[in-house]
């Protein structure tokens, strides 16, 4: 089939908007990361790699780096696992299927800040329903100070975020499942394949494009996590839930704009370094239908 061709200038408005609002600020940002831009200084000086040297000697950033990676890995993995499980379940002919799909997707459309405030109440050490539930069951060892105990704080934030975003993955996987021709799974059934075998050899390979999208979006989104951490713990107690963006906020607040932009650039490099190999690896296993 011959493709219809459109004049090149049709793309100009989009290209101009893209250049103006994405590429230009990015280039300006890169430049500022090499300056001593500071709200207390009269002039902005080019200082080369000084900001980068400084940030590599910052122990708090190291902690934020580790926490961000733990958060991103856990959320990416669990968000997809839970999202896929929900999608498989809600792809079956259930009575309340549409209602359940809506219920599981709903947290994703609520602002993270609102979710944070709600969960702060839920996790309250004395009055929160989590501890009250465990207390009611008589399993007192499970009654913990979920947000303020350094042993549990990061875990609690991760679990809250998974609750928030799993519905989004579910929707993407559901869309992927809708595109799998039924005759493939049906013929596998006739051949005697059980549910697990059908899933492993038919459904899973054909869901690869949905995996690619879900994993990449989950990974980028979780590396940029901010609101949910800010509202639940403000990066605390101490630095136990500090992530890149809470640290960047801190440096911006103290007026160190150039330094904060350098951290932003570091995060950009990190996302790219992690994202591209993941993308390439996942693209390899995609199957063309």
């Amino acid at each position: 089939m011959e493709r219809s061709k459109y004049p090149l200038y049709f793309s100009f408005p989009a290209v101009i908007v893209f250049l103006l609002f994405f590429i230009t600020p990015t280039i300006i940002g890169i430049y500022y990361s090499f300056t001593d831009w500071n709200i207390n200084a009269d002039a902005i000086k080019f200082i080369g790699l000084e900001n980068y040297k400084e940030l590599f000697n910052e122990p708090r950033l190291k902690q934020a780096f580790i926490n961000t990676l733990i958060f991103a890995a856990a959320v990416t993995l669990l968000q997809n696992a839970v999202g896929l499980a929900l999608a498989l379940l809600l792809n079956e002919k259930l009575k309340l299927r549409n209602l359940l799909r809506m219920i599981f997707f709903m947290p994703y459309v609520i602002a993270p800040l609102v979710i944070g405030y709600i969960f702060r109440a839920i996790y309250h050490p004395e009055h929160g329903i989590v501890n009250q539930f465990f207390g009611m069951l008589g399993i007192d060892f499970m009654v913990q100070d979920w947000l303020n105990d350094p042993r549990f704080a990061l875990f609690t934030v991760i679990m809250t975020d998974i609750w928030r975003v799993a519905g989004f993955s579910m929707v993407v996987y559901l869309a992927g499942l809708q595109f799998i021709p039924k005759d493939l799974t049906e013929s596998a059934s006739i051949d005697g394949a059980n549910y697990w075998t059908r899933f492993k050899h038919v459904v899973f390979p054909l869901l690869a494009p949905a995996f690619t999208v879900n994993v990449l979006l989950a990974m980028i989104g979780s590396m940029k996590v901010f609101e949910i951490v800010m509202v639940l713990t403000e990066g605390g107690p101490g630095y136990t839930t500090e992530v890149f963006y809470t640290y960047i906020r801190n440096t911006f607040s103290s007026g160190e704009m150039g330094y904060a932009t350098a951290i932003n650039m570091l995060l950009f490099v990190l996302v790219t370094l992690v994202g591209i190999p993941v993308l390439l690896a996942m693209k390899k296993r995609e199957v063309e239908m």
């Binding site: 200084a41 105990d149 350094p150 932003n264």
Partner: protein, 450 residues
């Protein structure tokens, strides 16, 4: 086809990541807002308006707005101008204010913490109205407070308003009485008292580690009783120009050791890491907790919850004791009123400030918030614990909070102390405090720090 899809996905990934950097570039320099006084814009806004205007007044929500509303009601009746009070979150007040300055969204008048360090923070010479030559502003202000308001060049960008504040140990008198103990005579005695209270089933001290800022009070109030004795005013001046390291001050290290000792002895409440200012008030008021290292901002809060009689009769105060005596009372100068030089209604804003510091308004304020006055002809009924501090001041045993004497700040101290409560590592905490102090001085481009 697959290659193209891969290219498109790669581009989408890079775009997602690239867009992060936009956050760092679109904030705009604060310089854009720094039009000097006397510019056409400033002059235009300085012209008196015939029509009544609505002024915006910013205040942190940690302050009780009741007296301000009473004063503004009088102002409205007298001038026809309205005042809209905007109470911003106390923890983010400075940042929100700086953001509004950066975007040119100036309030007409705002309340600011005391100290000339705020002048550096707000780039006062470019952004704020200068008051030192203004008639009808300084006559009634106590001389020491006037001096405190001026920078090295003798300029004042803020007008003092409020009362002399204090930090120290607030205690529940009933709990002390029941345990048969009195205000301590020295630090060792304080620990003995705390042990006795613990033995009686009362939590001796409450620490609001979750909120961060309450934990700082122990160190700031301990500073005047302990660190000032070691380094003197010369030492503070050396700190101001980065010729003395915080990590070289033995008395400061001892404060961290003391805090750790209190924790190790189990003299704080059980869950310090989830401790909040709100719970602190409740526990102290209900007598479940005996003492708290705190600032006088707790008084209006306690009054709201437990009534004026309770605050008057049941709450006592003593300074951070030293090894040999009852210590030095830590005081804070009053807040200051500031007016941006590019305020939308500059003349009306100046009029409001002058109205607020008139004798009538000041007395309205003190009626609602009793405290040690900073105006010569003001009258204020003091709470007994404020009288205690006034006695210390009269005896010459008081000192201004070190944070108000330094231009650089103990950056992120609340966070450092949170971490210290988890790790208990004294050396790391001091090292971090020292590094952050130098970093802040450097960031503010202060002499000796660059």
């Amino acid at each position: 086809m697959r290659k193209m899809k891969a290219v498109h996905l790669t581009m989408a990934l890079m775009l997602g990541a690239f867009s992060l950097t936009a956050c760092g570039s679109n904030n705009g320099s604060s310089q854009g807002t720094n039009a000097p006084e006397g510019t056409a814009a400033a002059e235009a806004s300085a012209k008196p308006s015939a029509k009544p205007v609505t002024l915006t007044f910013l205040i942190p929500n940690t302050e009780d707005v009741t007296p301000y509303n009473l004063i503004f009601k009088e102002f409205e009746a007298k001038t026809g101008n309205k005042v809209e009070v905007q109470a911003l979150p106390g923890g983010d007040y400075d940042n929100m204010l700086k953001t509004r300055f950066s975007t040119g969204d100036f309030p007409d008048v705002f309340l600011m913490q005391p100290g000339t360090k705020q002048y550096v923070k707000l780039r006062a010479d470019e952004t704020l109205y200068e008051w030192s030559g203004e008639a009808g502003v300084w006559d009634n202000v106590i001389d020491t407070i006037v001096d405190f308001q001026k920078d090295a060049a003798g300029k004042a960008y803020g007008v003092p308003f409020g009362k002399t504040g204090m930090m120290g140990v607030f205690y529940n008198k009933d709990v002390f009485e029941k345990a048969g103990v009195a205000a301590p005579t020295n630090y060792a005695n304080l620990i003995e008292i705390a042990k006795k209270l613990k033995g009686d089933g009362v939590t001796p001290f409450y620490e609001g580690v979750k909120d961060g800022w309450p934990t700082q009070v122990f160190y700031l109030t301990g500073w005047v009783s302990q660190v000032d004795q070691e380094i003197g005013d010369e030492g503070v001046q050396k700190l101001n120009v980065n010729q003395l390291k915080l990590s070289d001050i033995a008395a400061l290290k001892d404060l961290f050791v003391k805090s750790k000792e209190i924790k190790d002895l189990g003299l704080f409440q059980k869950n310090t890491l989830s401790g909040t200012f709100d719970e602190l008030q409740n526990e102290l008021g209900e007598g479940k907790v005996a003492m708290a290292f705190m600032l006088d901002g707790i008084l209006p809060q306690l009054e709201k919850k437990f009534g004026k009689d309770f605050v008057t009769n049941k709450i006592g105060f003593f300074p951070f004791p030293t090894a040999t005596d009852t210590g030095t009372a830590m005081i804070t100068p009053p807040n200051q009123l500031m007016v941006p030089s590019k305020a939308k209604n500059l003349d009306a804003a100046k009029e409001l400030v002058k109205f607020m510091i008139s004798k009538e308004s000041v007395n309205t304020f003190y009626q609602s918030q009793p405290g040690i006055p900073v105006f010569k002809d003001a009258t204020s009924e003091l709470y007994p614990m404020q009288q205690t501090v006034k006695d210390y001041i009269d005896e010459g045993k008081s000192k201004v909070n070190v944070q108000n004497r330094l231009t650089a700040s103990f950056l992120d101290l609340g966070k450092i102390l949170q971490n210290f409560h988890i790790t208990g590592d004294v050396d790391t905490a001091i090292k971090e405090m020292d590094a952050n102090y130098v970093k802040d001085g450097n960031s503010k481009r202060l002499e000796g720090f660059e």
